[in-house]
């Protein structure tokens, strides 16, 4: 049985044991293209053991102000990525969301877009947030298109916040308000 609130058309979101996510994170982090689309930190190639310790420490924290879900395909139950909320402020009803598909062969087929739609429904209908924001790097047009499809709009750019391959790149901020999401009428029923 799947919880409908966490199920989309292609994927569902799930909670996983530390050892499961740790193996994925350790493996995915060896893909520098993936990591450079996701993070500003240089790769450190942490072991699965270290990732497991990190995730276990997370377990001890208060679960109400952090959300980290795995993304699994509806067909085949393959674990293809993660989606999480950070900088989460209950009293302002605001959070940032981060998503990444570690399994490359699932890129470009709507899985990420579907996972984001599910997360927004969870954020607005269960967490009762007023808005969801995100940061995306200038050199990641595929992600920007996906976020636009879901309803995120540009809120500005942080000029030259990243130095990679000898070039300065902007961080783009995007956001969606609860009212905008409701007006789009996506998956609200």
């Amino acid at each position: 049985m799947k919880n409908d609130l966490l199920t989309g058309e292609l994927v569902h979101l799930s909670a996983e044991n530390p050892e499961v996510m740790a193996e994925c994170f350790s493996r995915w982090n060896q893909d520098t293209e993936w990591l450079r689309l996701l993070d500003t930190d240089p790769p450190r190639l942490l072991s699965a053991k270290k990732w497991k310790e990190w995730l276990e420490k997370d377990l001890e924290k208060d679960a109400t102000d952090q959300v980290l879900f795995a993304i699994r395909t509806l067909v085949g139950e393959t674990l293809i990525g993660f989606i999480g909320l950070f900088d989460f402020y209950h009293q302002h009803g605001d959070t940032l969301v981060a998503i990444a598909l570690g399994e490359r062969k699932f890129w470009g087929n709507g899985y990420g877009t579907d996972a984001m739609r599910v997360m927004l429904r969870y954020a607005f209908n269960e967490l009762n947030l007023r808005r969801v924001g995100l940061i995306v790097f200038e050199y990641n047009p595929r992600a920007i298109r996906s976020y636009e499809k879901v309803g995120f709009v540009s809120e500005g750019k942080v000029r030259g916040a990243m130095l990679r391959d000898g070039k300065r790149w902007d961080f783009l901020y995007m956001g969606i308000l609860r009212d905008e999401w409701l007006a789009k009428g996506i998956m609200t029923s």
């Binding site: 500003t40 930190d41 240089p42 402020y89 009293q91 302002h92 009803g93 605001d94 007023r130 808005r131 924001g133 809120e155 500005g156 750019k157 942080v158 000029r159 030259g160 916040a161 990243m162 130095l163 300065r168 901020y173 956001g175 308000l177």
Partner: protein, 198 residues
Amino acid sequence: MSIDTQLFEGKLIRLAPIDHEKDAEVESHWTHDLSLSRALWRKPAMPLSIAQMKKKYEAIEKEIDESKRLFHFTLRGREDNRLLGFVRIEGIEWTHGIGSLKLAIGDPVEREKGYGSEALQLILRFAFSELNLYRLSAVVGEDNPGALKFFLRFNFVEEVRRRKALLRDGQAWDSIHLGLLRDEWLAMNLKEEDRHEK
């Protein structure tokens, strides 16, 4: 400036370390005006006792020491050494040369006297000439127009408006992200020098 320039010395104020014994009482008093905390942080504003303030100082110095991503200086009167506020550069990412700025004058009666302006000039010089940062960010709430005007006056550029990201007093306000690049700071300084020579 040159190698003998004292980076922490201004005309009215100077940047200095925390005084764990004396500062806690003064700053605890400031925190009882919640507007200061609201202007600086997004978490719920709360007054802090002297004991809580001392613990916070321990935590700040631990973070400076261990994370290497934080600089936190007190602002003090140049003549009488009295505590006026603090300034910090946080969230530094050395790989990319970026950081984020916070500046506070604690007691409302000490504001509008030029201490903040001088503190900002000192910390900008420190960020760009000593830390070699490429850019500095500052985040202000739409409910704090004074702070927005302050940073714009020093050539910060409005870069991001996170719409309705703050909920205060029953009203939703934008969170405004400002940025200043080292090149913009250098150009501003050259203009200043020009003005002085003429």
